[in-house]
């Protein structure tokens, strides 16, 4: 009972402070701040908050409530319900993982809330389940893999491919093969969260492949790359940017040097917004930003740009303002496709040693103005 009263008082207090300022926007950020995937969520949160800070007065009316989903779908759903019902947020954002996004997004947008994705881009939400209130500011899950498929088809003959056995993993290999073709040297699905890859490495060694494509985000990629480097197998590794982003590179160490991967952004991308982002991020948090931070930074800037044009209470106008994507993206150019997913360039990057710090440099453009493969299945009303 006491708890209930305390909660009601807190809710009241929040409500009162909300009324005090005119037309504020309340954003609910659900992201992963604990557990093995916390590095990604923390980067996303920090990138998002940095954009609001950099926006200064333009973001003065924006309030953000952040909660940790612990990378658990059931928890994310509870938090989303709470944010919608008691916190009365206007916009939800922040989810890193596709399985969590699938659990939260459809019901949130059905309740008339906006959802802006900073990372997860599962294929159903780009296709059959697309919604006018769902905007993906990151990518559709397949995109980075498609870019590597394209790169591999130009540079290699027999690629061995490997991903964990879950929706984003199957999306990854499907995306890769969409541009590479089906003639791979071998195909392995590993367990999600697997930490020892000795058995897989033995098979790769025996396969006679000339290249290896892996999609192993977070700790899985770190473990694999270290073991692979030690195994004496010298088949070159390629992969999507997630396996070699700034959050995991220090832990992989030298084993990552020279690895080609794909990304929609890297810190040497030559534009003003990107330079400012990298500089202020380093000054604020004393580390290099990852792709997750970059995408969240763009998401926050998109919201700020839309808020300058329309009130969030006027859903129609606000939606149109979001769709214009009239903000300075760190990716240089950025626009929305018919299914509210990005049209953007995807680059091939290479891991380099920059004065003792491992980071990615762009070496080629895999796709210009790339759209996802699911847009035609989207019947947006």
């Amino acid at each position: 009972m006491k708890k209930l009263i305390a909660a009601s008082i807190a809710a009241l207090a929040m409500g009162v402070s909300g009324i005090a300022s005119a037309e504020p926007i309340k954003i609910g950020m659900i992201t992963t701040l604990s557990g093995g995937g916390a590095g990604l969520g923390i980067d996303a949160r920090d990138g998002f908050m940095l954009a609001l800070k950099n926006a200064g007065d333009a973001a003065a009316e924006i309030e953000v409530v952040t909660e940790d989903d612990g990378q658990k779908p059931e928890l994310a759903v509870q938090i989303a319900d709470k944010m919608i019902q008691s916190d009365q947020v206007d916009i939800l954002t922040g989810i890193i993982w596709s399985n969590l996004a699938m659990a939260v997004v459809p019901s949130a947008v059905a309740q008339g809330k906006f959802y802006l994705s900073v990372n997860a881009g599962p294929s159903p939400l780009a296709g059959a389940l697309c919604n006018e209130n769902y905007f993906n500011v990151a990518y559709q899950n397949d995109n980075f893999h498609e870019a590597m498929g394209q790169y591999a088809s130009e540079n290699y003959e027999k690629t061995f491919i490997m991903a964990p056995n879950y929706p984003a993993g199957t999306d990854a290999l499907t995306g890769f093969k969409r541009f590479y073709g089906d003639d791979v040297a071998g195909e392995i699905y590993t367990q999600v969260g697997q930490t020892d890859y000795a058995a897989e490495i033995a098979q790769i060694r025996a396969s006679g492949a000339d290249s290896l494509f892996i999609f192993l985000p977070g700790g899985m990629g770190i473990a694999f790359m270290k073991q692979y480097a030690q195994s004496g197998v010298d088949i070159p590794v390629i992969g999507p940017g997630f396996s070699f982003s700034q959050d995991v590179l220090p832990a992989i160490g030298e084993a990552a040097l020279g690895v080609k991967n794909s990304s929609s952004w890297a810190k040497d991308l030559d534009n003003e917004a990107s330079k400012k982002f990298v500089e202020t991020f380093q000054a604020e948090y004393n580390r290099l930003p990852s792709i997750y931070a970059a995408q969240a930074y763009d998401t926050a800037n998109l919201i700020v740009s839309a808020a300058g044009k329309a009130s969030v209470k006027d859903a129609e106008a606000f939606r149109a303002a979001l769709k214009e994507a009239d903000f300075d993206s760190v990716r240089g150019k950025f626009s929305f496709n018919t299914n509210n997913h990005p049209i953007q360039d995807i680059y091939v990057t290479e891991v380099v040693d920059e004065g003792g710090v491992l980071t990615n440099h762009i070496i080629a453009t895999a796709f210009t103005d790339h759209k996802d493969a699911y847009a035609e299945q989207c019947q947006m009303q």
Partner: protein
């Protein structure tokens, strides 16, 4: 090539097995002597890995890190026993599970508070880098062979400790009849703390050795803990011999399943389908083995003798 691959996979299975043995030995020892289910054993594994990574980063020496991991895990284990676990021996298993689960959360958040959320870097020592030739024409990673060696040494050491020394005698006596050895004047509180610290040190050693292969991060202990529980259930709870056999069985079954099942299905269906189905079945395989063993011998393969 196929023979070489086969030998390599058997070595991989053995390596996973001895690593699980280090975890399971401590877990089963603690259960056997004190009747305690310690869910926080995985946290001690994590403590070992973080201590090794932190000390190795500060001093540049993996070996100092390894020593630090043993010391840190044993110390963490001893402190945990004295502050929390000691109050739980008389309680039922549900209370023990609740309290040690709370310890997992405390250790995880404490480690995150100290080291942050991003994984730490820990490399294999120079001496053990590289590969060695194995029969069949392939090469095998030296460090993994070293892990197998350490595991075998620990198994022999534990066997000698328990069967030949006074401490081992007390441990065996404690397993058979707790009240009686207390009545005979053995300081049972100290014995418990020592056994707990020993089990913790083994977990820390496993964490440090595996940390150099995998990633050192918060929450790394829990997946291993689940496997270690499978091992002691298969081997017979409380039995070191059971833990050894169970660990090797789980290590080999898991590795060979991941290797052979997709190939087996590959004869029946297209490769990408076979990968999915075989991979899914391989991840279930050790639990199927556990269910099978439990159905045949509910007390495990080598049940500990109970007084």
């Amino acid at each position: 090539m196929q023979t070489a691959l086969f030998i390599e996979q058997i070595l991989n299975g053995l390596q996973l097995g001895v690593m699980l043995f280090l975890m399971a030995a401590g877990l089963t020892l603690i259960f056997g002597v004190m009747g305690l289910i310690n869910l926080a054993h995985g946290s001690l594994y994590m403590v070992g890995a973080f201590a090794c990574a932190a000390v190795a980063a500060a001093t540049g020496s993996f070996w100092l890190g390894l020593a630090a991991s043993l010391a840190a895990a044993a110390a963490a284990g001893a402190i945990m026993e004295i502050l929390v676990i000691r109050r739980l021996y008389e309680r039922d298993h549900l209370d023990q599970v609740l309290a040690t689960f709370a310890l997992i959360l405390i250790f995880s958040e404490g480690t995150r508070w100290l080291f942050g959320s991003f994984p730490l870097y820990l490399d294999i020592p120079k001496l053990l880098q590289g590969t060695v030739p194995i029969p069949g024409g392939s090469r095998y990673q030296l460090y993994r062979l070293a892990i197998i060696g350490v595991g075998v040494a620990v198994a022999v050491g534990l066997f000698l400790l328990i069967s030949k020394t006074r401490l081992g005698m007390r441990i065996r006596a404690g397993e058979s009849d707790r009240e009686m050895i207390g009545a005979l004047g053995v300081d049972i509180r100290t014995l418990y703390t020592v056994v707990f610290a020993l089990g913790a040190a083994l977990a820390g050693l496993a964490g440090a050795m595996v940390g150099a292969l995998q990633s050192v991060q918060v929450g790394m202990g829990e997946p291993v803990l689940i496997l270690a529980f499978v091992v002691i259930v298969i081997g017979g709870i409380g039995s070191i011999k059971g833990a050894l056999v169970g660990a090797l069985l789980v290590g080999l079954v898991d590795t060979m399943g991941r290797f052979l099942l997709p190939q087996l299905f590959g004869m029946l269906m297209p490769p990408s389908q076979a990968g999915l189905v075989g991979g899914a079945l391989a991840s279930m395989l050790i639990y199927i083995v556990m269910a099978f063993v439990l159905a045949m011998r509910p007390q495990g393969l080598f049940p500990a003798a109970k007084g």
